[in-house]
Point group: C2
Chain length 333, copies 2
């Protein structure tokens, strides 16, 4: 196992200290229970937004804490759900009386623990709404999931809901916007290699030198099919076809096209995939009016990519374009 | 060879088409000869800044074209210097009468071709200054270099000089600031794995499962030493010690600490390294007042990292903080 780490059991702890040292102008990192929180919370009249999940998907979610996106993020151990006490403390910390939205990726542990935290927060008089993200068209049920997995749409939902909350929309509104982003998003991923979970020390799965896995999950969960490695142009078709046919997107729809790296894939290759995905979208008469290209929801050092398509409308576009200032996404300020 | 590409010989061409499709609001991509240029050049009274080098180091340099950074970037084939005609066309295109600065990494081919392009541009009446970046303390001479290699300081010089040019500083001033950034920067890198050049199809070098290479170059050029894999804390010492002792930095100096991923290393590990590098800097009584963490000057999918330290002063800090809007670095706008 080749990684830039010390003891596997200290990875998340040391990473959080690195984030604290690097981004103390933006965030505070709290320990026991662990969460990353905006320095300026609670913000009067503003809905708080909390997300979280296992570590190993960086920059998601901790890199998205800041103005115009998340108020707090709860990192679990690698590929392990955070605990209800992390979520509860983060929820209490960001609550300014306007309520708190939990954005939850559809994994059984995340769902269960966020539900428990929401109940505990409500017992303390905090209004909480939860929205579950389940945009992955690859498989119906999966290793850690009943129903579809939550993947790339999470990044888009966190950005767009963050802007809505910054505009002082109500909790009900921000939650509705989150559901709208989820309803209008579809994703699919693929892997060229497995990742290695630090405390496991060996690859999560094995792929031969000439194989790839289509429909992979962000924890290395099995996808739709394992097949011989294909050129990028064919991979683009294999990812885009189920996405476009699932919603379905209609001619003339404006979309945001998000090409995401899994952690070990260089930007050069993401642009090759983007080139093909853009061409397929255009040929299907979708208008790609916004995009995001880079490694934002990752799977440790896995090589591969995912594609997410979000059908935009004026409201979503406006909130996407709104200023954001986090460690990983920043524009307009 | 597992990559998200089509034919190896078309990688750069398809990547450039992907960049054109993704970032047409910021840049125009020109072909034959290839260069990426700001949409709004030439800009009256502004020094033009052109850089370039082999592809495979993305987002450098093409991802740095835009307001407050580069006016144009010339991408060569993978790990191959761009040609003088690319540099000449880019130079002519961005020239607005205030002269053009070439920022050149110290590799023999880049130096030779940028010199030729500068001579040709001068023949056409364009004032050109060239600054060579050579911040890598690892080795004195190297596979493609006489003297020290140019690495991480290039990213910092492009940002800082871009801000100076945006502030309408003269060509002489912008070139002097570039030399100052180079003089006050030191870098060192390491690799856990080799990269694979697409048209070669096999690893550039081989490292055993328990080995790492300290002092590696961004094309996989040999470093100082190959040794057994060490924990991140020891890697931090192996990189920071030669950097700090080389300048030398003095107690109380303000520095920018740049932890860079080589392409295949996830952000989680970069924060573990940042945590250690920050601690070493602080223990040496350096004040880390700015930072950059991410994969900005890469070596395809190589796993590893580099550290760059820049001794700041008020002028450099002000230009670092100035607004920038490019595909890869964006803040303040």
């Amino acid at each position: 196992m080749k990684k830039l780490i010390n003891e596997p059991e200290h990875v998340v702890y040391e990473e959080l200290h690195g984030i604290a040292a690097a981004h103390h102008d933006l965030v505070e990192v709290c320990f026991d229970p662990n969460y990353i929180v905006r320095r300026d919370v609670p913000l009067k009249g503003k809905v708080g937004i909390v997300s979280g999940g296992g570590s190993g998907h960086e920059p998601m979610h901790g890199g998205f804490v800041g103005y115009g996106m998340l108020d707090a993020a709860c990192p679990g151990a690698v590929f392990t759900s955070p605990t209800p006490d992390q979520m509860l403390e983060a929820t209490k910390r960001v609550n300014a009386g306007a309520g708190v939205l939990h954005i939850v990726k559809n994994y059984t542990g995340d769902i269960m623990n966020f539900e428990m935290a929401a109940d505990l927060a409500r017992d303390q008089g905090i209004e909480v709404e939860s929205v579950v993200i389940n945009d992955d068209v690859a498989v119906e049920d999966s290793l850690y999931t009943a129903g579809r997995r939550g993947v790339g749409a999470t990044v888009l939902a966190e950005k767009i809901c963050g802007a809505a909350a910054e505009a002082r929309r109500s909790l009900k509104d921000v939650a509705d916007i989150c559901r709208k982003v989820n309803d209008r998003s579809r994703s699919m991923g693929m892997a060229l290699t497995s990742c290695i979970v630090p405390h496991a020390g060996k690859p999560t799965f094995s792929l031969a030198e000439d194989e790839m896995e289509i429909g992979i999950g962000i924890h290395g969960e099995p996808g739709r099919t394992r097949m011989k490695l294909k050129p990028a142009d064919e991979i683009g078709v294999l990812l885009m076809t189920p996405i476009i046919s699932d919603l379905p997107y209609k001619n003339g729809d404006e979309v945001l096209l998000f090409v995401n790296g899994m952690g070990g894939t260089p930007l050069m290759e993401l642009y090759v995939i983007y080139n093909r995905a853009y061409e397929i979208a255009t040929r299907n008469e979708l208008k790609v009016s916004r995009n995001l290209i880079g490694s934002y929801i990752t799977s440790l050092e896995m090589a591969g990519c995912s594609i997410t398509l979000l059908k935009l409308d004026d409201e979503l576009t406006r909130f996407w374009d709104a200023p954001v200032r986090t460690a990983a996404l920043r524009w307009g300020m």
